[in-house]
């Protein structure tokens, strides 16, 4: 029995090592090493030490975070994080991450911060703590322009309504379903694919947040002519930068930087640059 166990462990070790070696042969060594030590950012770091922050984002969320051909991200949130980093002289490591596992990854320490259009929700707040909000938006229900039905008719039509699964729009769809509306939810991997489903007729409506929709339509005027906003859902929501609860020092620094940034007239330029203003 002991021999078998040793054999299994050997297999796991060799296998993981093989995988690791391959991946680390293409990534810079600093990028694949797990940098997290418990409480790394809870207090003031040692003097003269380079602060390295691993920044996790969902590369499927224009205009906040999108992938470029060279593997680095661009977007509004990327700019914000870069500005904060520049102010303090931090080094940022970019890590694209799947949206569904991103909270767990932050908790585990694969990531140090998330800034990727992350809405403050009570469920998330139990696991991770947020900075001050830097952007607010409302949820909107969007339909095709040539669809003459009213909002309540669409919600009761039994048609598909597209959302990004796991997003706050997804929660809104569930809330509406619970309230007794009769439609089918179509949860897709990103806001863009959900909007596409609306455009090509596979969904009759699309629940989005204004933070995505506005800039996207500004960038794609041909699409703007095809859709219309039927109404807003609930009160405004806020985006903020997520950190681990114990990383108080980091959060304080981010909050200070965000306050300073948002007071600056450059903030409006930045919003405009990404079509958010």
């Amino acid at each position: 029995m002991g021999k078998i166990l040793a054999f299994l462990l050997l297999g796991i070790v060799i296998g993981l090592a093989a995988g690791y070696l391959l991946v680390s042969s293409v990534t810079a060594p600093s990028q694949n090493k797990c940098l997290y030590e418990a409480g790394k950012f809870s207090g003031v770091p040692k003097k003269g030490e380079q602060v390295v922050v691993v920044y996790g984002f969902d590369a499927n969320y224009p205009p906040f975070t999108v992938m470029q051909p060279n593997g680095t991200p661009i977007g509004f949130d990327v700019d914000v994080v870069n500005m904060i980093a520049k102010k303090y002289g931090w080094k940022i490591i970019y890590k694209p991450w799947d949206w569904s596992t991103i909270v767990t990854a932050l908790e585990k320490g694969d990531l140090d911060i998330i800034a990727s259009g992350m809405t403050i929700t009570s469920a998330r707040s139990q696991k991770i703590w947020f900075s001050i909000p830097y952007y607010s938006y409302v949820h909107q229900i969007v339909a095709r322009r040539n669809d003459t039905r009213s909002l309540s008719k669409i919600l009761n039509s039994g048609d598909y309504i597209a959302v990004q699964s796991g997003s706050t729009a997804d929660e809104w769809a569930d809330r509406l379903l619970k309230a007794g509306y009769k439609f089918k939810k179509l949860g897709l991997g990103s806001y863009t694919s959900a909007l596409k489903a609306l455009l090509d007729g596979r969904a009759s409506a699309f629940i989005t947040d204004s933070a995505f929709l506005g800039p996207y339509l500004k960038k794609n005027p041909d699409i703007e002519n095809k859709v219309k906003v039927l109404g807003n859902l609930g009160a405004p929501y806020n985006y903020a930068i997520a950190t681990r609860p114990q990383d108080k020092w980091l959060r304080d620094k981010i909050n200070a930087a965000l306050e300073e940034l948002m007071d600056n007239p450059k903030w409006n330029e930045l919003l405009k640059k990404w079509g958010l203003g």
């Binding site: 469920a123 598909y160 597209a162 699964s165 796991g166 939810k185 179509l186 949860g187 090509d200």
Partner: protein, 222 residues
């Protein structure tokens, strides 16, 4: 408690969707597989190579890529399919390609004497294939076919990626809302294990019933 009251009914709805996916895709896949397998043996040059290319293609692509291609890619060609239809189409294509392998092998294993005998009583080639070769071949391929269907049940969870609200998709949504990972996913694993065990059992019974009529018992050993 409130969590379970919400989760269990949703999961049950998801289970129904999973069932719907498999119940429609499985017969389609088997039919497609038998047709492709037959075409690969008897199809001649043109039809045969089309069937070969078709099955090689869908066995070479990961199922998840096929799903994305059908749901996100086809609209660029002007073909719009709903998520459920896309999933059913992808599952049928993929399992059809795999099943055609088994059917082809089984057809080749039906011995020459059978077709000679069929010809000797004056059957046409089509009659010979339909009434003599295929009934024997399908019995021989039944183990492979039933394995493919069990795989299909497992891989049906991939439909979450194109927005089908099946079991895994429901579980994933609840996981991102409530973070009760252990409860959610171990329950899901248990359900899938139970379904797999049940379906395997049904197929075993079915094979036992077919077995006495088959001339090759050895192939039924699991």
């Amino acid at each position: 408690m409130g969590f379970w009251l919400e989760f269990i009914p949703s999961l049950f709805m998801g289970l129904l969707t999973t069932f719907e996916l498999v119940a429609i895709s499985a017969p389609l896949g088997v039919t497609l597989g038998v047709a492709l397998g037959t075409a690969r043996v008897y199809g001649g040059k043109v039809l045969g190579s089309i069937a070969r290319a078709f099955s090689a293609l869908f066995r070479g692509f990961p199922l998840i890529v096929t799903l994305f291609l059908v749901f996100f890619g086809l609209p660029e060609l002007g073909i719009y399919l709903s998520p459920i239809i896309s999933a059913i189409l992808s599952f049928s294509l993929c399992s059809g390609a795999y099943i055609s392998e088994y059917v082809r092998g089984a057809i080749l294993s039906v011995d020459e004497g059978q077709s000679l005998a069929a010809e000797s009583i004056g059957m046409s080639k089509l009659q010979e294939v339909l009434y003599i070769v295929l009934p024997q071949a399908i019995r021989r391929a039944i183990l492979g076919i039933s394995n493919e269907i069990v795989y299909m049940i497992q891989y049906s969870s991939l439909a979450f990626a194109i927005g089908v609200q099946e079991m895994y998709s429901v579980a994933r949504t609840y996981n991102s809302l409530y973070f009760k990972s252990f409860e959610i996913f171990s329950l899901l694993a248990v359900i899938y294990l139970a379904i797999t065990a049940l379906v395997t059992l049904i197929f075993r019974k079915l094979r036992k019933r077919i077995e006495p009529y088959s001339d090759s018992k050895a192939e039924f050993i699991e």
